[in-house]
Symmetry: D2
Subunit: 138 residues, 4 copies
């Protein structure tokens, strides 16, 4: 599982993302990471809206470790990645990086994210159906 | 009703509020306006959380006209105002301004906001109970 | 000038854009409008980063009137438009709408925006060079 | 240094902070943490605006590890803490937690933050003057 190719998602930096230091505000990288997780899940066939409305199940970030190597700037084109590194019954771990321009470009952000599968009403962990991430199970 | 004194709420400008132009990002003034409406409603005894959960009623902005006179900067202390200018059965109009330092300071933002009272599920207008804004009715 | 076709830009709604009412938070539509103005200017050949760094010139919103007709929801695909309606020496007016799905879809937001061309250091109006918006001048 | 009492800063949760899951959007906790670092630095006599403008020095987050224990909700009153755990010539480490209601309330977020002192133009590490954090040096 560790050598699967990362999912990639492009992000353009707008004024809304920057701050008075002239670079992307640190909390906004977490928005880019979440957009990319959402699009990665969409490619896996996970419809988070239907999941929340019909099954009352949501994904939430339980832990995240992040290193900020270099700043992104206004108008930069970024590539954000997501790569599954571990999958349990109630959570998954992914590695997410942000690069300038493309995946061979400068590494700006590296992170490890643990996301849990919860009941939306009780916020308690729930077992993920085997149909989720089906192709990644061994 | 037009000469009631405005409600005032202080806002400190943090990095999160600014952008690469070195000033507050224009959309973020609308966050300051909404915080102030929330606090103004709280002083009137309106508990928006209870209203949403128990009555399924929410306030939403229906219209807003805004002029940006001068920019706020990192670390500025702002005063945001709210003053009721009109009240109907299903909506209220308020005037909201943002000043630097205090209400006699530089005028940065002036706005007129129409907020509607809706059913949270159908998003259709609902009649406000007379207990809301009771003291302002004539 | 009034019958020029609007520029269109797609926006996907993510969790970051929504609030506890289950819809897009009202201030975030202004982020969508600004992304679209940026992309519209880019198609006109305006490089805002170079403009700010080399010429110390920036565009800022001076006025905006906005009507919120219907809410956008998580995962919606939106189309945001920009259409020039007036051009003076130091400012331009544009009409910007947000539709669900496509330009023939439900109208969610309508707005009129006046943007001014300023010196980035003094924040005072400056005359736009005729090369900007060249093709729109008559 | 490890048993110094944490700095505390109150934060009220508004609609702007929440998302369609009905709780605070995960990236927004990082805004709360940064507000608190700013206020903590202010109490230590660090004026970040003067530092950036006069000395071209800024603080940036280099690393952050965060655990999300339980969600904050609309209208919650939170207490955010900051406690210095390590200080080098070019960086400091702090522990930051977020509690519901007060510091004896439910722990929602725990984090460890490494912040670096940089030249604002080159984004390279700079030695912090001994006057910064003077009272914490042994």
């Amino acid at each position: 599982m560790a050598d699967n190719k990362p999912f990639q998602w492009p992000v353009r930096v707008y004024y809304e993302d920057t701050d008075a230091q002239g670079v992307v505000y640190y909390a906004n990288y977490f928005r880019f990471l979440e957009r990319t997780r959402t699009e990665w899940l969409r490619t896996l066939g996970v419809d988070m809206v239907a999941l929340a409305e019909n099954e009352r199940r949501i994904f939430v970030v339980a832990e995240i470790q992040t290193k900020f190597h270099a700043p992104a700037r206004l108008s930069d084109e970024l590539i954000v990645t997501a790569r599954l590194t571990n999958l349990s019954r109630v959570a998954f771990d992914i590695e997410q990086n942000i690069y300038r321009d493309n995946i061979d470009g400068e590494l700006l952000i590296s992170s490890h994210v643990k996301a849990a599968y919860l009941d939306a009403d009780t916020m308690r962990p729930k077992r993920m159906p085997s149909s989720l991430f089906g192709e990644h199970r061994s």
